[in-house]
């Protein structure tokens, strides 16, 4: 309990920090521009690769195969490097690797080291260590050099200095060189070329990271666009290759396949300017040495972990960040430890332990947008949940909140009380909690809860219907009108309905890492489900949670979203109702990305006469609600929502329809705060109104 209180006390500070971050216009604009360009470039370039999903399958198998055999493959690489006159060192942890490289440099009598971009070196905090030995370390990638001279951290994996304007960059170099540098990217680049050229030529040691290592022909593959990597690797007398254990693949063909997908998926580039392949010491002048340092630092342990093992496939293309709503909102300084984004949470856990990763994991909304672009098929949201599961001493407040919410009696009393004492619309919460209502309105829960009402209407538990309705906690206690509308709708359509005894689906428990509670709720719900009838959902999150019960095996009844079920019933017929309005649909993350239901809601809406469907990529963006997330990190949630609200406003949408009560709470709250003339309603409500054609009343109000 003390932990919970301590965490609650910390929230307002965290909120203020996040508020500052999301209100930083330069960073936001820079990120937005970069992410949009990369995502568009990716979409255009992806066509040349054929079916993306086939690639994902192929890449996943290829990389899993290699990781499975990684010890044997590395043995082969070691043997080859050594037989060709190089040295090979497997460093068990960051310290061992740092010390080894430091010693190499000292033995070579080096005072200057040039370095290509290497996140592995950042992971082991190499630069400060080498500096402490009196070695000058010069980053040679332009973005990394800017960051190094500015004394900052990268904010993006591909464009590390994306958060800096050209004026700021010019100031950084002016200060470093003690003369005025013009704020022109072309001129700055040429000046940097001149400056670093001397460093390349004078350095004793050149170090680079590596993208891929092949084992059949033992070879190290290094990709850059600027050409700094190959200069680091070929000009100084001592070449150091630093690579993580996970970079291994079986064959050179596999390595080439990775370079077919990497630049395309990363920034929409067909092929990078330079791909340099090294197989041994390149002795173009006397005395050249090659040293290979392979870093373990938790990787081999991760191979044994069923979750983190999946993260080892990562090829660091950064596509997951380019589409991540949280990353786009707060950037890589906030949403990172050393590794950025959701995948960064998993990687930080692997290399620095889950405690260090917990804060980053906590920022993820679990929307799953990353799942659609990861070429290696890494289930990032599950890995984030796993991080939270491992760290029991943090996230106590959110676990406590979920434990309370999962107690139905308690939730019933609390929402019942709130519905009696709270105003209809809560526009301002008192104290620090006021941040929650800063950009959204909260509605008071409605009465009565669904189950008592349904029983009073003669619906029976596990009997009498062709389909079982699962309402879910939010519908039951906050928006019971949605379930009442669903009952009315199905009754009108002649579909007999039954209900079931329910517990919380457990998904909120799982996303805060409370696997004990998740399993407990799973077992209960499984026991309550009538096995012989389809299960119908009004909440995409519940459906996704219950869908995942199937992962452990055992039969579940067929699961249906309302739109799926009704479309199946309608066959090819139009929906028997009409609605004259500009209607948009919001795809709940769980519906679209976790369950893969992408077509049915729009198809159903288009079957309603009079509907003018407004489509756009904004329909698919996460709303930022994510259950408790909007209460945990209100500034981030509100910023994520903005794009959707802008879209609704610009497109003059009359009605936004969706299939998740949590999304409704978030979007409606934002719509009302902004005073937009948009009704945000559940699919069930919309269809019922279309059925009874009472929508004209809406138009008047």
């Amino acid at each position: 309990m003390r932990g919970v209180l301590r965490e609650l006390k910390e929230y307002p500070t965290r909120w203020r920090q996040l508020q500052e971050v999301v209100k930083n216009p330069i960073m936001r604009e820079a990120l937005e521009r970069a992410m949009t360009r990369f995502a568009q470039g990716r979409a255009q370039a992806l066509g040349s690769l054929g079916d993306f999903q086939e690639w994902v399958e192929w890449c996943r198998e290829m990389k899993d195969r290699a990781l499975e055999r990684s010890s044997e493959l590395w043995d082969r690489v070691r043997e080859s490097v050594e037989s060709r006159g190089g040295t090979f060192y497997l460093a068990s942890d960051a310290q061992a690797a740092r010390e080894y490289i430091g010693k190499l440099a000292q033995e070579a009598g080096a005072t200057l080291m040039v370095k290509g971009k290497s996140i592995t070196s950042e992971e082991m905090e190499l630069n400060p260590y080498l500096a402490s030995l009196g070695l000058e370390v010069v980053e040679t990638d332009l973005g990394e050099r800017i960051i190094q001279l500015a004394g900052e951290k990268p904010s993006h994996i591909i464009v590390p200095a994306i958060h800096k304007t050209k004026e700021e960059v010019a100031r950084v170099f002016s200060r470093a060189w003690g003369r005025e540098v013009p704020d022109d990217p072309y001129l700055i680049t040429k000046e940097v070329r001149k400056d670093l050229r001397q460093k390349f030529l004078n350095a004793h040691v050149g170090m680079t990271g590596i993208n891929v290592v092949s084992a059949d022909v033992p070879a190290f593959f290094l990709m850059t666009n600027e050409g700094n990597g190959r200069l680091c690797a070929t000009i100084p007398n001592v070449q150091v290759i630093l690579t993580g254990w996970e970079k291994i693949v079986e064959t050179v063909e596999d390595a080439f396949a990775i370079f077919d997908i990497l630049p395309v998926n990363s920034v929409g580039l067909k092929y990078s300017s330079y791909l340099s392949i090294f197989t041994g010491p390149f002795s173009w002048k006397k005395g050249r040495q090659l040293h290979v340092v392979v870093l373990d630092n938790g990787r081999r342990e991760a191979l044994k972990d069923p979750y983190f093992k999946e993260a080892l496939r990562c090829i660091r293309c950064g596509a997951c960040m380019n589409v991540c709503p949280v990353y786009k909102t707060v950037g890589g300084h906030t949403f990172a430890h050393i590794y950025m984004g959701g995948i960064g949470a998993a990687w930080t856990a692997i290399t620095n332990g889950p405690e260090e990763a917990r804060e980053v994991a906590s920022l993820c909304t679990g929307c799953g947008t990353c799942l659609e672009v990861c070429p290696m098929g890494i289930p990032i949201p599950s890995l984030v949940e796993h991080v939270k599961e491992l760290v029991k001493e943090k996230g106590q407040a959110e676990r406590m909140a979920v434990r309370l919410v999962a107690k139905r009696k308690l939730l019933e009393s609390a929402t019942g009380l709130a519905s009696m004492v709270a105003p209809e619309k809560i526009t301002k919460l008192p104290g620090p909690a006021g941040i929650i209502t800063q950009e959204r309105i909260l509605e008071r829960p409605q009465l009565p809860p669904f189950h008592p009402w349904a029983l009073s209407r003669g619906l029976e538990i596990g009997k009498g219907g062709e389909v079982t309705l699962y309402a879910g906690c939010m519908v039951e206690y906050f928006y019971p009108n949605i379930s009442r509308d669903a009952v009315e709708l199905l009754t009108r359509l002649g579909i007999p309905l039954q209900i079931m005894k329910e517990e919380c689906c457990g998904l909120p428990a799982r996303v805060v890492g409370d696997m004990g509670l998740w399993e407990e709720l799973e077992a209960k719900n499984k026991g309550y489900m009538p096995p012989d009838k389809p299960l119908l959902f009004l909440c995409a999150t519940c459906m996704s949670g219950i869908h995942d019960y199937g992962e452990k095996g055992g039969e579940l009844p067929p699961l249906y979203d309302l739109s799926q079920y009704l479309l199946e019933k309608l066959g090819r017929e139009p929906f028997p109702g009409s609605y004259q309005a500009r209607v948009a649909y919001h795809f709940p993350c769980h519906l679209e990305r976790h369950l893969g239901i992408k077509e049915e809601p729009l198809e159903l809406l288009s079957r309603v006469r009079g509907v003018e469907l407004v489509e756009g990529e904004e329909a698919h963006l996460c709303c930022g609600g994510a259950g408790l997330y909007a209460f945990k990190y209100p500034p981030v949630a509100a910023e994520i929502l903005k794009k959707k609200l802008d879209w609704l406003e610009n497109e003059n949408v009359d009605l936004l329809v969706t299939s998740c009560p949590s999304c409704i709470m978030q979007i409606r709250g934002g719509v009302q705060k902004r005073k937009l003339p948009v009704k945000v309603i559940h699919m069930a409500t919309f269809l019922l109104e279309a059925c009874v054609e009472i929508h004209s009343r809406f138009a008047q109000s």
Partner: protein, 182 residues
């Protein structure tokens, strides 16, 4: 150097390669309609303001090119740093990405590809493959053992690190020229 046709429809692989090479930011010096290699080279070194050049002895028709450039008043520099133009042979190429393959075992040819502002690559048409992987793997799987360093080049050196503004010639060549011979 024997002339090769500029009619790309006669060789779909070559035309695909040239298209992708240009798309990546490379400049095709030859074959170009109505211009001899000599003329194209002359135009290029003037336009680029080349003073110091170096050429690899590996380049097909090494003597002809050397004499031509010397005749134009170009000099060999004392130090590699002063190089404006490096001329080397590309040992292979991949059409689908417009990529050139350079294979290095010893000697200083690699410096001609990485240090100067302008790099001119000479490719024999028979070294062109559909994919760069095919063009490269045969070198890596050489029964005599793989070369220590293989460098694949697709267009000039580039960056977008400052406000995503596209700038070429960061640490590698700002211009990449190509001559294809048969």
């Amino acid at each position: 150097m024997s002339e090769i046709t500029t009619d790309s429809s006669a060789n779909p692989l070559l035309s695909l390669f040239l298209e992708n090479f240009e798309a990546a930011g490379g400049v095709i010096l030859y074959p170009q309609k109505g211009e001899s290699i000599q003329k194209a080279l002359t135009h290029m070194v003037k336009a680029e303001g080349v003073r110091y050049f170096a050429i690899s002895s590996d380049v097909p028709n090494f003597n002809m090119v050397s004499r031509l450039l010397e005749g134009l008043g170009l000099e060999r520099p004392q130090r590699y740093q002063a190089l404006d133009l490096g001329i080397t042979r590309a040992h292979g190429a991949g059409a689908s990405t417009g990529t050139l393959v350079f294979v290095f075992s010893e000697g200083r040819d690699h410096l001609l590809t990485s240090l100067p502002r302008v790099h001119l690559a000479v490719l024999r048409r028979e070294d062109l493959h559909e994919n760069v992987s095919h063009a490269t793997i045969s070198f890596l799987k050489d029964p005599e053992g793989p070369p220590p360093y293989v460098s694949l080049v697709t267009g000039p050196s580039r960056t977008g690190d400052i406000e995503l503004t596209h700038v070429t010639g960061v640490h590698g060549p700002e211009k990449l020229y190509l001559v294809v011979v048969s």
